[in-house]
Symmetry: C2
Subunit: 166 residues, 2 copies
């Protein structure tokens, strides 16, 4: 807890700058691909992908909002858009009538299937083409650690209680 830590080592700085640069460029490229191939925003793709990831294609709104870092109203907005396009349906949960269950439709799966190959290809050509297999291993390991760490820290996008003192 040394609070004199007000600087970064050159290597840390380098890692940070490289990270932000890769993040930004990759994000832009991927967003363009998703938009072109399936008329999906990145968030919408994430939501569909998350639904496609589970066998029955169903998740509760809150679980979706937790996965994507997102406000609940923002999720409602995006879910509406996806529903209007027929890519998901929404229905009240049987277990808990407060909850809304979002379900991936066949059309939603179709869009995912349309978009995936290009998505994968973009990742190959933009990111993995530059990295050896060992590099990918290392990257997965290191960023996995970082992700675990980050995930453990922050209060999620849940209902904010009363703020402390601020």
């Amino acid at each position: 807890m040394n609070e004199a830590r007000v600087s970064l080592t050159p290597t840390q700085l380098g890692a940070y700058f490289a990270f932000t640069e890769v993040s930004s460029l990759l994000r832009h490229a991927v967003e363009k691909q998703l938009r072109d191939a399936g008329d999906l925003s990145y968030v919408q793709f994430q939501l569909l992908a998350r639904l496609g990831d589970v066998p029955n294609g169903q998740r509760r709104m809150t679980d979706l909002a937790d996965g994507v870092v997102y406000s609940r109203s923002g999720l409602t907005y995006q879910a509406q858009l996806l529903q209007q396009r027929g890519l998901v349906t929404r229905s009240p949960s049987l277990d808990d009538e407060r909850s809304t269950v979002v379900t991936l439709t066949a059309a939603g799966r179709a869009v995912l299937a349309t978009v995936f190959p290009g998505h994968i290809h973009a990742l190959h050509s933009l990111l993995f083409a530059a990295l050896s297999d060992d590099d990918v291993d290392e990257l997965a390991r290191i960023l996995g650690q970082a992700a675990d760490h980050l995930r453990a820290i922050p209060p999620r996008s849940a209902t904010p209680r009363r703020r402390k003192s601020s």
Copy 2:
């Protein structure tokens, strides 16, 4: 040029997911810090930091737009906001009267100085706390490669010529 590449190895997938997760969580945290500490958006911080990075604190609009991945009109908008707050000034270039030179003001430097410590601290506690020195070395090396690769590919945010065939 093997076009049968429509899948990723599990490790690649893992690296990708970890990357997006770290990117998203880190970005949110950093944005909140910048907003709280200096009422700056991430883009605004990037612009100020870029100006602070060069001795005279001056850059041309186009150079700024190139650095941040950005449309020129978007940059004009942000530059206006920064100018209204007195953090930068804009004046025509002497060399080339078409160009606008953006200059970091003393107030701009002050805001940077206010924001930096918290920014550094956030990076420490959110990212580097989870990584060994060796990990950071590796991360810098690998992402550096990736950044070089990405930087070499895409046409920047310049005036889009006529597209080729695509």
